[in-house]
Amino acid sequence: MAMRPLLLLPEIVLFLGGLAVLVSGSFLPRTRQWVTRVIAAVALVAAAILAVVDLPGPAQPAMEGTFTVDTATGVARIVAALGTLIVLALASDEIAGSPRESETYALLLFSTTGTLVLAGADDLLVVVVGFLLASIPLYGLIGIARTPRGAEAAMKTYLLGALFGILLLLGVTLLYGVSATTSYADLTDRLAEAPQGVVAAGVVAVLGGLMFKAGGVPGHFWVPDAAEGAGGAVAAFLTTVPKIGAMLAAYRLIAMLPDTLAWPLLVAVLAVASMTLGNLAAYWQTDPRRLLGWSTVSQVGYLLVPVAVAGRSDLALPSLLLYLAGYTVTNLAAFAVTTTFPDRRDLDSYRGMGRARPWLGASLVVALLGLVGTPPTVVFAGKLTTTAAAWDGGLAWLAVLVFVNTVISLFYYLRWIAPVYGRVEPPAPTPPGAFVAATWSPTTAVVTAGLSLALGIGAGALWSVFSV
């Protein structure tokens, strides 16, 4: 066991990049804040390249065995860094030249670093560190726009985050109390001999904390509010990137637990609750960002499906990674459409977009049908493999419920697609007016939607990388 800090180079690059953005942003005039954006982008690209170079390797412990660098960590690094890079492109439309431009970029980088710490954590205390590092910048990000709704959402997120953070610490304390260790390497054996009631309470508490980070039941209440109240780029970020770390942390936790209690059932129940609640709540939303917010709650449910069979099916980990990568790209594509027209906060105000901006319309269709899991987008490959993993791991009923929920979800995504291609009624009311697009967002939307299709068709290649 050694420190081997170089293994954490991508995380270090991101964190130092955040610091550099923060410091240089303080010295640059308002008109030249774009320099900080370039610094942030360089840090993200560098982190992604470092992760790619490291990728095809066996699992390597770092920081005395508290952090693992393996394929999953590598994929998380690449997906999170590129995801944040896409968010950066969306942000440049929205906050370029605004008073808090550089701070926003710095907070995005810090939160991404926290997510990556969570993704590789092999020790309960590192989970706590990652949780805090990912959450605290997020509170600031949500409120940074200084709108009334943003303030409400930030408050709500902060209070819930504090509550679930304490819950997480409580869980860690309980598990440490019965096992005298926080390292996953030792926990498996020691928890098998510990009193099962305490172990159960501790695991549920830790899992609850992670569900707050992922935005799944029972820690989901902040997601729709934050998606609606925060700025578009921040909304895209908080519904996408933190999930990568939280889901992998949940996976490692469940995979580590001894086979003494029905953990798969616990996770499966959370998964079903998340997907069902998210879908039903999304039904009659009229604000597209709030609708997407609820839709991400349901997506957490689908993401939990392979976690439920962690260690019980060979398909589980690669399918989780595939779903995470696909979900990130597809969800960002949907958000990119909303940041293209930040003033259109009603599904009906998208009426006629398909005709006015055909490429954007097509991107939205690909993104939304992609979120449903329609082939040939990459989420379909993810959904197919995650459900196959669930069935393979003995949870056939969970696979069936995933598909039932998929049908339920189709309706509200169609509620958005329908006006886009619907007939334009006599002159559109004034607020939306003509479809004048922002500069970066439409390109981002088309690129991410195209990526969603391309990754779906090339899912075989992705799979062979993920299952190393």
Partner: protein, 496 residues
């Protein structure tokens, strides 16, 4: 060869999308040219086709796709799929010609239909369950946009109902596919391997559940009673060429699934549940015909006769599951009839829906009582409709007779009780004759006054469909020679 047939229309669709400045006429003629080229490729494939050995496919192509779950890009044809891809190419060409007069966004419409053509071709030649599912789902997406974008009446609502309903079916299908995948050893989605392995043989509960999932998925698409309720509104509000493709091609995806997937891969469960399938078939036949009889809307009536005609197919494939030593010949005849019916129904109903489109185009209504004596101003329409109606009700000399005769010969030999479904033929005859009388005979009145007869594009799109139906009715041999060996293989596989 097959990849070219499948992806040529898609490439043309992308080209049309990428050229926004292309004129409307150029777009329409490009569509016709590409559809004709695709048909020519299919004809070339047919001429070179040799019946493959049992359990194999002709013109096979295979490439790795998602090796992690043993799903590959695997294409191939046999006697079950070759007639269907030929029929698909013919119908899409007919639609392209019919749409030569289209003025509403012709470039987008051409691109969308070319996309649908790729998807339909791909489905019929897919030899991998995931590939099959991908095309199955994309056909739903494509048809949703056809109905929502070019439909009339309450198109948005019908399109939504169509999408939700058939998407539900497709997911049930996917559940069944995953069940097959998990049960297979080694896990695979390859159709040829699954048919060889027959996973779930010996476990009647799991086999029954997986078959139930697949059957529900296919029954929604086919559709059979009680899953047919999405069909009438979708047809009524769809544009004419959309209806022709929906009824002619998309419905066949369901029935094709029975003979391609359910019967060879789950023979034991199929035999156990054969009676349920037969009953569903009989109910669909009789119920579909009775409801069609009560319609006053011409397009709805044709839509319900589709339920009736699909019922014959379900009945025949169900009867093929009643395995007894002395009926192998009869069951093979029934399956041959079922596949012939798929082709025949595609041609005939495609033609009838295009003719319904003419009614909508000229007089903006499908209501049969609004017309009368239409044969006077529109003799060509009357003649075409009469041929289509007689073909649909199974008059000898037309393709419907060949199909239904074989279905009943085979089914009644296997299970005499299926003779009940003969009532369906009688009812269909009654309803078509009545429609003929209401619309075309008597004094010219109502919307018939000043009705313009068929134009050249309409004649050249509907005519060939009816001529093909006639050709199959008179010289069925070339078609049956392709289908029969494949039908024998299916019957043999079910008997395992």
């Amino acid at each position: 060869m097959l990849s070219l047939i499948v992806f040529l229309p898609l490439a043309a669709a992308l080209a049309l999308l990428a050229l926004p400045r292309l004129g409307a006429a150029a777009a329409r003629w490009t569509w016709v040219a590409v559809a004709a080229a695709d048909l020519a490729l299919v004809v070339a494939a047919w001429l070179r086709y040799e019946t493959p050995t049992a359990g194999r496919l002709a013109f096979e192509e295979q490439a790795e796709w998602i090796p992690g779950v043993n799903s590959s890009y695997h294409l191939g044809v046999d006697g079950l799929s070759l007639p269907l891809i030929a029929m698909t190419a013919v119908i899409f060409l007919a639609c392209a010609i019919f749409a030569l007069r289209e003025t509403d966004r012709p470039r987008l419409q051409a691109a969308l239909f070319l996309f649908l053509q790729s998807v339909s071709m791909g489905l019929f030649v897919a030899a991998d369950l995931i590939l099959f599912f991908v095309f199955f789902d994309l056909s739903i997406v494509g048809m949703y946009f056809v109905i929502a974008g070019w439909g009339h009446g309450n198109a948005a609502r019908s399109a939504m109902k169509f999408f939700l309903y058939t998407f539900l079916g497709s997911l049930a299908l996917l559940v069944g596919f995953i069940g097959l995948y998990i049960a297979a050893d080694p896990h695979t989605f390859d159709m040829v391997e699954l048919a060889e392995q027959t996973p779930l043989a010996g476990s009647s509960l799991a086999g029954g559940l997986v078959l139930a999932a697949i059957l529900i998925g296919l029954a929604v698409k086919t559709p059979t009673v009680p899953f047919h309720t999405w069909l009438p509104p979708a047809h009524t509000d769809a544009p004419a060429i959309g209806s022709a493709v929906l009824a002619g091609v998309l419905l066949k995806m369901g029935t094709y699934g029975f003979v391609r997937i359910a019967m060879p891969m789950l023979p034991e469960a199929w035999r156990d549940w054969a009676w349920v399938i037969i009953v569903v078939g009989i109910v669909s036949v009789v119920y579909g015909a009775l409801v069609a009889l009560a319609q006053t809307n011409f397009k709805r009536m044709v839509a319900y006769t589709s339920v009736n005609h699909m019922g014959y197919i379900v009945l025949a494939v169900g009867a093929a599951g009643l395995v007894a030593d002395d009926t192998a010949q009869a069951r093979s005849v029934a399956v041959t009839g079922a596949v012939t019916q798929m082709v025949s129904h595609g041609l005939i109903t495609g033609a009838l829906f295009l003719l319904a489109g003419v009614l909508q185009d000229r007089a903006a209504t499908y209501d049969m009582d609004s017309y009368g004596g239409l044969a006077g101003p529109a003799p060509r329409l009357a003649a075409f409709f009469a041929v289509g109606a007689f073909a649909s009700l199974g008059l000898p000399g037309l393709s419907g007779f060949i199909a239904e005769f074989q279905i009943f010969t085979g089914s009644i030999a296997a299970a005499p009780v299926t003779a009940i479904a003969l009532v369906g033929i009688l009812l269909t005859a009654a309803l078509f004759l009545r429609a003929l009388q209401r619309i075309f005979t008597g004094e010219t009145r109502g919307r018939s006054v000043g009705f313009t007869d068929l134009r050249a594009a309409e004649v050249w799109s509907v005519g060939p469909l009816l001529v093909l139906s006639l050709l199959i009715g008179v010289f069925p041999r070339p078609l049956l020679a392709v289908i029969e060996p494949a039908a024998e293989v299916v019957v043999e596989l079910v008997g395992r």
